[in-house]
Point group: D3
Chain length 318, copies 6
């Protein structure tokens, strides 16, 4: 049996066998007017160009970006790069027991653990209306929430990133409400859980946690407006006090803080204000931590787009 090879171990001339993620897929036409597929395949160690010269029925529909595949082929060198000529290809199946973490970035905790954090905080909410509204909204999305990222790119664009972002904010919000004791925890926890929940409707994500595109409604309305809609509907359904519904809607509406970032109003009570800081702070900490992981002591990272192209410095002293 052939060894399952990682991409960075490929050498020209050898035959390989392994599981890879399709990063890009394109149908092209050869000089002999024959259709073939041109892929970029990836795993946790790197990427390689691959050609599939014999196209069968249904290949074009099956082998799309963000699919996990099993592949057999031969490696060759072409113009200084390695290339894989695919001989056999199929989608992975459950029995393959492929570990997603080997192919896509994932949050550092399991989805189950992070979801439990959210349930714990939900359990601490005393106000019935807030608890009911949050519960109603969560219960519609028990499945997709487990793998959804928090963004298409930028901060928390990893599998289960939405849970990761939300659960970290809950913990931080909990801590800060020990300092700023006048904050209403029910409102704060409820607002945190709901603030990005409509990203589930703004974006299309595969189970790998990779966003292919925004939904039509996501384009036309955006997750802030979509979030208000689901709170309104949930509030009506559970018969919540109108003010409670309105307060949660205001928190979602204002959490981006600036009109040019999608919030036409600014926070008008402290829990909404704090939600904004928790959100922004968690995103920035995520991005900076990530930038520093790839940076040497005494060096700057590349310019990070989501940090206004700032280059992040890793001190020599720490």
């Amino acid at each position: 049996m052939l060894e399952l090879k990682k991409i960075n171990k490929f050498e020209a001339g050898e035959r390989i066998d392994g599981f890879y993620l399709i990063k890009t897929a394109e149908v092209k036409t050869s000089s002999t007017n024959k259709r073939y597929m041109d892929f970029t395949l990836g795993d946790s160690t790197g990427e390689i160009n691959a050609k599939l010269w014999e196209m069968n029925e249904g290949y074009e529909e099956d082998f799309v970006p963000n699919s996990l595949i099993k592949v057999r082929g031969v490696v060759s060198a072409w113009q200084g790069s390695l290339q894989l000529k695919i001989e056999k290809i199929r989608l992975t199946v459950k029995a393959d027991e492929v570990d997603i973490k080997d192919f896509v970035p994932v949050a550092p905790y399991t989805a189950e653990d992070m979801y439990q954090v959210i349930l714990d905080y939900l359990g601490r909410i005393k106000n019935k209306d807030i608890k009911n509204i949050v519960n109603e909204i969560l219960s519609n999305e028990l499945e997709r929430i487990m793998y959804f990222p928090a963004a298409k790119k930028n901060h928390h664009a990893v599998r289960s990133g939405l849970l990761y972002h939300t659960s970290t904010m809950l913990k931080a919000g909990d801590k800060l409400s020990e300092i700023y004791t006048f904050l209403n925890k029910d409102l704060l926890f409820g607002g945190i859980i709901l603030h990005d929940m409509a990203k589930l409707y703004e974006m299309d994500s595969s189970e790998l946690g990779i966003v292919s595109d925004y939904t039509i409604e996501g384009h036309l309305l955006g997750h802030i407006i979509q979030g208000i809609k689901i709170i309104e509907t949930a509030g009506e359904k559970v018969g919540a006090d109108k003010e409670i519904t309105m307060l949660l809607e205001h928190m979602v509406l204002t959490h981006h803080y600036e009109p040019e970032y999608g919030s036409p109003k600014k926070p008008m009570f402290p829990e909404a204000e704090m939600l904004h800081y928790l959100d922004n702070m968690d995103a920035k900490m995520y991005d900076m931590k990530k930038a520093l992981e790839d940076t040497e002591d005494g060096e700057f990272s590349e310019g990070i787009w989501s940090l206004d192209k700032r280059r992040i410095y890793k001190a020599r002293n720490f």
Copy 2:
């Protein structure tokens, strides 16, 4: 019987009788520690300060700004201004047959006529879902829509100003869709009727069409977000196609065009784009026409706040 006098005819020393609008009302304490009421009264001809030295039970609650009152009193001169000492005062009643136009600015057409224009265009909408949504929303507010202004101040801040603004936009939209024939009239007419409808929930207006303040929800969410909420609810109630609901919501969401004016997204289809122009154009035409009514030929108006403090010129030649 005493003559019903207009304020600009008042002379020091005479006794008068008439109907006036309370513009401001304040309870003050005299140097002898007695409570009295200090008013500014107005009619179509001017304003005058008035004192009510004898306060009865309930006066403070009854005689509030924007009430129409019947008053008898004596005019005196004090520090170069005229002042009215009130002897008798009561709220007007139906039998007084007071004409609102004599006290507050009103739209140039009757509310009934303008509402009929809206119904006519509603009748021309062929798409069932759009027709049903608009109908559902209108039917909740048959009364208040008749007198509501379109703003607290600035454009169309007159009694029935909301109807005036909406019906003019419908007519203009109708005309322009003869030029730009690819526009969908159902969507355009529906969007126009709905675009400012949630002002009914954003502001508190007396039946005189004078806005005392924004509502709590108006402050926290604003009429754009409130408009989306009522469309969402109406859409669910009438079982409309999801895309239709979303298109109308997008039109309301984007009609202010710029984030800093409350629209976090820009129009993404032509009917939404046209709605924005019709709205903006109608507001600007209203403000300019009004500015010129008070301006002489060959002169500039005062700087108009809602026109970025522009001074409007009235040409000598026309």
Copy 3:
């Protein structure tokens, strides 16, 4: 006789004959140190790279971008693309009876019809001075106005686009002045006709309606300032009332509305304000209509540069 082939019908190996537009033309040097010409040729169906290996005297000057040529050659495949080796080449002549519409985008009405619309509205202007100024300015440019586009790229960048833009605005302005009856039609029609007229001096356009570049004066002053200059000169020549001249100049000066778009002043009377809306609205309707023509139902267009990179949505329902 060879068939006149459209580019999208070319196949490797065949010999073709046809009329094409030179899109780009460059003189290059081959590895054997020989000068040759490298073209991109286009027609209504597509584009193809073409090489002319044998350069004659004058070729470099004759075969410049935006020329229509007759070509004979052989198609070959190179690195997956088709390429044309030119054997014979000449500029088209009248006798070829080439239809411009087959090569460049044109307005949907004939230049003659659109010019007639402008003359009709000119005929409706009652004010002698306005009529004379407009007439004076038009009469200087009877020829070039027939093919000039309204822009180098973006809205109305088609042959006769200037006439198309102006005549549509006249029709829309006419409609809206039935709603906003206080507008002075003489001023409005005059302002519309003149507002972009100096684009004739701002840009250099071939008779195909393709702008090669801005003129020196166009760069240094821009069509707004150039427009004021021609109105000033025309006003003096026809002995117009100074205020009339000034009003028309103000309309041209302010029609871009914002300083960063070239208008240092904002409109100070309603006809100037309306001119701005008509201009902006017509440009936006044009761009949106065009974007939707290439878009499927239920899909978004590409991001459109002139619409702030917005992607335009084509509803499924309409």
Copy 4:
């Protein structure tokens, strides 16, 4: 002995005796050409106008705004307001045992307790250089730091406000570094303590914690630049590693985040980023809490200048 009266208990005609704060003081000339002093006096219950008709030598220099005085006088009513005619006046002395809290707003903890918090965190800093630099800077200002406010107006503009702001941020930073464990606590605590320390040199404050004005250097350089200067000097004095000094300077430089708020650079490492959020969040929480203290349930506060004129809402439900 006369009773020590609070201002809100004054009645016309009575003679009073008490301690008050001079809020404004002006020397005026009476109609009889005599110089007298016109004061606004205040205590924790309100304000009153007061006249001192007999001016002695040195009064003008002694009785300046923000002085605490002992006063005897007679209350009268004039034009509907009460007024105090001063008979005896002197500055307070230690023996009067006046409690500052009765006259000016103060932080909710004692200066000693809050300073101890800072010392505790200083004690937790392990890096010698950071500890030495912070220590050096603190040791120069043992006295003034006890009463200095954090601002002339806006957030933490109370006696000992600088200690209050700094110690709260240390506690919050401590909490958040339990969530974001990759943060270096030495750097974070050091940066927090130093970030506003140069306000001691930017503003002139009385011992009451009231800022009369900015210093000349405060005007010309500002506390961010002044802070960098004192870190540079302290760093050189204690012989700190150059990078450590630079990191602390960067934290001070960037803590306002935006150029238009005084930070020409943005944070380039996570501790600097976090410092900004802690600073901003603490200021906003302070302002919102304060706004809500004066607001009824279900009402909005006045527009708060330091919150971009936002009106803060106090929910009915909480």
Copy 5:
């Protein structure tokens, strides 16, 4: 004969005689229903309120702001201020030999001297077309240019301020062209002389150099556009080369540099760029010098509006 008294020497009770400038003039109605005039009079030493109780025919038209008058009256004290009761009043005549400098701010050189500077630089221009255009424009305004200020308020808002500003810029431009020797002096000097010349048509100024208002054309077009118009007309009249005219127009067009300050284009050649700096620098130097004249050593001036409200510091050391 009565002494001619300066306002700061007035004492209650005395009768005075003198020349003053009318700063404000208003017709009011007394409590006895009699019309009277209420003035603010000023001279180089201060201002005083004055009443003219007996109004003759024509007074209202004659005694308008910015007129110089001879007055006799009696000084009295009222509510702590002095007031003048006018007994005799007349406009000044030539025989009074009043010196304007005693009443309004004037440039530090005589208009004749500054105009001569301009003529000297005009004489140094070698290019015929530039010289002719400048000459043509100057020759139209030989009179008004002598007293015109350069602004309504802000920099050089003094009698002959336009000459002062222009002549200083010429001197500075001359100096700098010795450093930047590639600058064309003809273009630079021509551009400087013309850059603000249309202020003569933008504003209405009395012979005292005080601007009462902008002209209609000044409002609608502004001095930049008006300047281009007069250059265009002059260029045609003297038959100048088209490029020369265009270059001068571009210099006027761009000298404010930023769209929001009125320049829709930025300078595109060095002489235009330099013109901008000379203009801006001269304005700023003027404003700063003026601010420091009223400031003590070691103190800040008031915030200066035209310097973005900056307060200017006068060093102790110099």
Copy 6:
């Protein structure tokens, strides 16, 4: 002996010998898995790609960008471009007597002459403290200042550009202080010399005057803040008056004028204001002069990045 060939004289097939500057250097791996070096070499006449197939020990470290090398090799043509195959390579040595001007852009005066200009102006400063501070700062950098450019790219990014920029500004400031005589020359000259001096610490420059990158401190603080630090340290060392130090620091702090360009404060005295204009003006004159050197009469330059992408026009008439 082989001729020393300029790059623009290279022809395919010949063997050449010469001195060149390494512009880029990269180690690559050939298809046969061998490491080789790929260079871009340049001289005053052009650039060429070069390959060094045989890599010795230490080559990678020696032959880095911005090194001057002696090279022998053979020219070949490849895909229409020339390429150099390197046979021998070494770094230049003093004995080669290579003239830097042949390889990198340099200022038009010698470093020695420009440095003398600075010393002359330093000699004219009468104030002891200013003279001492400037002297102290200059004396630390006698070597590097001779070759440092004033920028990484844009204005004065040439060898000795810092001296060129500074000495030109001194001359211009001297001239203008003859016009604006109230300016303090000591402060102005001192401020000019110091304003960009910290660029020596912000950037790393080779002796060729080419900046490879910003320093860590340059990134984290920037030359404005670094400049304040060196003035503070120098001021303390020479025992300067605190106000003098502060004034110089304010000048450095404010010389970029706008927050978004790095100056958190605006100039608050005229010498600081003038410093800004001198700096800006000198940069712009440099960029425009350079742009015009590559432009034909009657043509526009390319868009210049440092001039907001403006294209600069070279008039036909001059």
